[in-house]
Symmetry: C2
Subunit: 219 residues, 2 copies
């Protein structure tokens, strides 16, 4: 019975993800689902990204958190529309939560929608939100062993942002080993070192977004 129930839930999720995906494709909106452990720097990356790109693109953000409206407030301070989803205990966003808040976002007027998932390196990896791309952020103080230890997350994402490279002198993080481990788990994924604080590598990330947005416009 448990299996049937879980299967039903996942089928409902798949339908909801397809519903979202079609809406996003219709409006040509690039949708990026960003996942990480708590404190890896998702919100700081988004604040900086929004500040850098809001002159060129119309951006919206969905913030997923267990509790509080803090992250949406931070994004609004950076000058962009942000909708907060408080999951009230749920450890991940699911596509129905996204569908429920889409009426608050004018997709016709949104070139890029960032979805910041709940801080969790496990559960969010199992849920398709209908996004265009999935990105994982791993911060250097967490250690490079998190790639083999949380393989599903690195398997389902297309880009691994290695954040907080400014801390590399102070923490044990082996970038070469991280590259090898990512290659073993997901040869298609790209590893990109950045520091949202110092700005190091940030242009690579902004260019990746611009190219992804361009691809959404192709017929």
């Amino acid at each position: 019975m448990k299996v049937t129930l879980e299967k039903d839930v996942m089928e409902n999720n798949d339908r909801a993800a397809e519903f979202n995906r079609k809406l996003f494709q219709k409006t040509g909106t690039l949708v990026i689902n960003i996942m990480s452990s708590p404190g890896a720097g998702k919100t700081t990356i988004l604040e900086k990204t929004v500040r850098a790109l809001s002159g060129q693109y119309r951006i919206s953000v969905i913030e997923g958190d267990i509790a509080t409206e803090r992250d949406a407030d931070r994004i609004r301070s950076a000058g962009t529309r942000a909708v907060q989803i408080a999951t009230e205990g749920e450890c991940h966003l699911d596509p129905r939560m996204i569908a429920k808040v889409l009426p608050e976002i004018d997709l016709d007027e949104t070139d890029i929608l960032f979805i910041e998932n709940v801080g969790n390196l496990v559960c969010p990896s199992e849920f398709d939100l209908g996004q265009t791309h999935k990105v994982v952020v791993l911060s250097t103080p967490e250690g490079n062993d998190k790639i083999p230890k949380y393989p599903l997350m690195f398997h389902v994402t297309e880009l691994a942002l290695i954040n907080k490279t400014d801390l590399i002198p102070y923490v044990p993080f082996d970038l070469d080993q991280a590259r090898k481990d990512l290659q073993a788990i997901n040869p298609e994924s790209r590893l990109m070192p950045v520091s949202a604080r110092s700005g190091q590598g940030f242009d690579d990330w902004l260019n990746w977004i611009k190219e992804a947005r361009q691809a959404c416009l192709k017929p």
Copy 2:
């Protein structure tokens, strides 16, 4: 139906937790369930703890991870019995997983059993393993806002180790604000700054363990 099913699952878990708890009480074993985000430093804290205390106490460790035997190997290198539970996708340990590996641990010969939970600041907070105490580790690079953002974890734990205090000069972490936020969520919980790397504050942690062990021996 979903509610009933979840209720059944949780009742089974509660029974299993009670089963574990009675065994631990019978042998006077202190059992500490350690939880945190991925990369907050649980394993490093345990390595150092085991090295410091294994002359005085008979210690065993259960390591919970999604995948790999890495952490158990690290603990074994530190000179202690370690059993790895690979949850194969499950985002937390549950008390039945613990019961299943207890035959591999000689509780009669174990003064202190550390259980390192899966790296996840959300799901493990919901599961009673039958432990004597629950401890959460929050590392300074994660930011002090994680306390209000993941309130259940800080509500169910009795001790919050603030790890990686050696990084405070390089990261934005407000210890006073962390104290206030913890007080608001759980006035009974104690905040303890430590650095597993530099050793700063580590004696407080070792003393806390010794007192907790002493309390297990009282009739």
